[in-house]
Every structure is written in C-alpha cells, then in structure tokens.
C-alpha cells in the first residue's frame, strides 16, 4: 500500500514537473477571480495612491527617454543648434503671494535671462514668459495671468487664442463642431514648444457657434519650486 501510494505520488510530481506551464496556467485561470477579489478588498486609498505614484514614475522614465530620443533626432536632422540651453531658476515668490499670477525667480540679467524667454516646469510643461528682468531676478507672467492672450494649437493642429483666467486656469473659444474633449492638450507650435495646458472642461451650448474650452496649466503654479528658462 505504502509502495503504491509512493509510486502514485512520484508519478504525480513527475507529471507536474513535465507539464508545469500548462498546469500553472490552468491554476491561475481558476485563481484569477479570487485574486481580483483579494486585490479589491485590500486596496485602500494609500495603496491606490502608491500605484498611481509608481505609474507616474514609470511614465516619467518614459518621458525622459522620449526627450532624449527627440534631442537625438533633432541633432540628426540638423536642428540641434536651435535648442538653446536652459537656465535653472528657483522660484522666490509665487501665487497667491505674488501679484497677478506671476512668479519671481532667482535668475536675471546676470544669468543671461531676457524678456520674452520661455519658462518651463518639469521639463516640457510650458508655464509662462519672462516679462521683467532685474539684475539677479526676473518676473514671469504665467499663461494663466488674467487678461493675457497667447496663440497656441489644440491637439497640435487647430490654432486657438488662449486667454488667462488666473489661478492656473485659461479659456479659449473654438468653432462649434470642433472635436475637443477633456484631457486634450494645448501646446505652443514649433519644434521647441511645450505643453501649455490640458483641457479640463468643455462648455458647448445649444445653438451657439463657438464652444468655450477651459484649461489648466499642467502644474500647479502654487507648488512650483524650480523652473527652467529658455530662449524662444
């Protein structure tokens, strides 16, 4: 009896070793619903945020790789010279402590900053333009400054006039029937343009010939600690 049982077990183990991938697949097919239930039971807010952070970090790595590839392609196509170096600047004052949705940064004439230079946050997020330059500081007007108006492109093709509303928000009017949705990007045209904003709401009224789209800067201006300044 013991010998028979032992033989059966040895055969069983041998079968499992030989057909391991197929058997594992079957087992995980059966366990998948149970595991999904377990994941949903154990997932709290912290876990969800951790997962989001991990995803954001992975996307950041992807973004860096794409930026490197982009620079490489520009260099191969003879446009590398157009990429002006960037100056890193610390934000001395930002909204709501600075007036009119502006930033004061710790780089100025001494660092080669000039009026009209573009200001980026976190790489490719274009947030504003240098409006005033002092000896060692400068004032940056955010694109969301109330009353400011800029030409940009919606989804890379449709030209739109973006108007600042303050607090990192902007709006623009596009013809009715335009294919626009929440999450679409608004960017500056040109090789060195960056993402200016993401569409956060679309206001389409019945019978009106224009749709008003609302956007916000890709970063919260109140959270900015450093920016990069580049010649246009």
């Amino acid at each position: 009896m013991l010998v028979l049982g032992g033989t059966v077990l040895v055969v069983l183990v041998a079968l499992v070793v030989l057909f391991r991938p197929a058997l594992s697949s079957l087992l995980w097919q059966a366990l998948a619903p149970v595991m999904r239930v377990r994941e949903s039971l154990g997932a709290d807010e912290v876990d969800r945020l951790r997962a989001q952070l991990a995803q954001a970090q992975a996307e950041l790595i992807d973004r860096d790789a794409l930026a490197e590839e982009n620079a490489d392609l520009r260099a191969r196509l003879g446009r590398a010279d157009a990429a002006a170096p960037r100056v890193l600047a610390g934000v001395l004052q930002h909204a709501p402590w600075s007036a009119y949705d502006t930033l004061v940064v710790d780089a100025g004439q001494a660092q080669g900053i000039a009026v009209g230079d573009l200001v980026y946050a976190s790489g490719q997020a274009l947030v504003g333009v240098v409006r005033e330059v002092y000896a060692s500081s400068a004032r940056v007007e955010l694109f969301s400054t109330p009353g400011a108006s800029y030409q940009a492109t919606l989804n890379g093709t449709l030209p739109v006039a973006v108007e600042g509303q303050g607090g990192g928000s902007m709006s623009a009017a596009v013809p009715a029937g335009t294919d626009v949705a929440v999450g679409d990007t608004v960017a500056f045209p040109g090789l060195y343009g960056g993402v200016v904003a993401a569409v956060s709401a679309v206001d389409a009224k019945e019978g009106e010939s224009f749709i008003v789209i609302y956007m916000h800067l890709p970063v919260n201006p109140a959270d900015l600690a450093r920016v990069e300044i580049q010649k246009p």
Partner: protein, 95 residues
C-alpha cells in the same frame, strides 16, 4: 482515533492564507503541519499546488524545481523516521 477533518482543514487554511497574502512561511507551516501529522498524500498534493501557484523558483533555489513538494516529502520522511522511535509507543501499564 483522532478526527482527520480538522487537520486537513487547518493545514489547508494556513497554506491558502499564506498563498493569498502572500506570505510563504504560512504555506510552509501548513504543509509541514499536514506532513508531520501523518497526512502525507494531502501534504504533497497541497505542496504541488503551491509550487504550481508560486511558479519556478529562481536563483539558487531553482535547482530544487519543486521546493514545497520536497519540503513536504522531507517532513513526511521525518515523521516516518520519528514514528519508528517515538510515536505510537504505548508504554506497558505493568512491568
């Protein structure tokens, strides 16, 4: 004569919880409990299922191929060996 039900249930639940958490020492505990309490076949089958679930071991353990099953077999062998010395011995009431 002890009931076998609780032993099967206990070792299965411990091993299953260890697999679901996942916390492999609980799986080891479930398998070892089943094997040491004489449920050899059950312990080995349970270990095989856990081996399938956890997949092929990596690193230096990859040589073991089915580490949980080998552990169950070792625990069963230990139980058999020990039983010949210590277990199931009924001391005589009188000399």
């Amino acid at each position: 004569m002890t009931s076998r039900g609780p032993i099967y249930a206990l070792s299965f639940v411990v091993a299953a919880v260890g697999f679901m958490l996942p916390l492999w020492p609980l799986c080891v505990l479930g398998i070892v409990v089943a094997a040491l309490l004489g449920r050899y076949v059950f312990a080995i089958v349970l270990a095989l299922v856990i081996d399938l679930g956890f997949g092929m071991p990596t690193g230096s353990l990859s040589r073991l191929v089915v580490p949980f099953t080998l552990l169950a077999a070792a625990a069963a062998a230990l139980r058999l060996l020990a039983s010949s010395y210590f277990l199931d011995k009924t001391p005589p009431d009188t000399l």
